[in-house]
Symmetry: D2
């Protein structure tokens, strides 16, 4: 992960940024539990779920960025080949959602 003080751009995320986003997602998921418990209108709950999925996608893209820049590019030969395959399989799973 880039240093805390690094100015990140695009999809790059520091460890601290990823942890903050995940903490927020955790709170959003608890909020959705509350909405279900209170029998809130389905559509409003679905809107929150879509927001959580978009937030998780952003975390995922930060990790894909990290893996590409450091794990893949930091490796050579057979190891780089392997890490590229892992990258592609991860992107495929994210596109297919599971």
């Amino acid at each position: 992960m880039p240093a805390e003080t690094a100015t990140t751009h695009g999809y790059t995320a520091t460890k601290d940024q990823l942890l903050k986003r995940l903490k927020r997602v955790e709170g959003q998921v608890r909020g959705i539990q509350g909405m279900v418990d209170d029998d809130r209108y389905c559509i409003d709950i679905l809107t929150q779920i879509s927001a959580v999925q978009a937030a998780l996608d952003k975390v995922a893209l930060g990790l894909v960025d990290e893996h590409t820049r450091h794990c893949v590019m930091g490796a050579e030969g057979e190891e780089r080949e392997e890490k590229t395959e892992e990258l592609m399989a991860a992107v495929a799973r994210l596109m297919r959602r599971g």
Copy 2:
């Protein structure tokens, strides 16, 4: 939401089932925070995020099912028209993830 004791099939989910799934998602998100904190391998963390996305999709489908069966079909005329539009907008957001 169908009664707790209702035998559900397909995508229908009882309130209790939705809450259990959301509780599990909350735990998974905390688990992902731990993996990031421990600098675990990006690909392993991405695998967990894809699992959370799939679990959230299942919760969302339960709510889409609920909205279709009760809110849309329980309404008539203009109100049914409105709730159908809301259903379609929710499905579009889920397909586009955000």
Copy 3:
């Protein structure tokens, strides 16, 4: 499908509108073949593929809308139950893309 002259709103689409969108998608796919043949820059080709997927999603939403309004709501009892399950399975496939 709603009559050709029907004013559609939201996701509802007439048969003619669906056919026009699909014709355009067909042309876009041929265009992508040309870009691959000409060894155009991967990112530009990927941008076109994302545009085709968004267009196909729009066609799909038109059909989900059609199925909900006519097939599901036009049926009763056991048949409506069956068509609702089919609707949910189709939405799940679209969310998971395949």
Copy 4:
């Protein structure tokens, strides 16, 4: 693009393989037009659209693989930085479908 005779693995695709897949997608889209024209059951048409989406995903992954292995890894310094950003933006669009 890897040579025609190259044994590809994982997501890597030769130019010829990409063109064949795209040709098949073109035929599938024409097939869907026929189904709409014949007023075939919406759910059956939706099943075909999901199949086309999955096929397009496969083409896209082949191009992401190509871009990663050749454009990104073949570049250095500022150019590699730029091509990595382009890769991430393309992956984000594919995840969001448009």
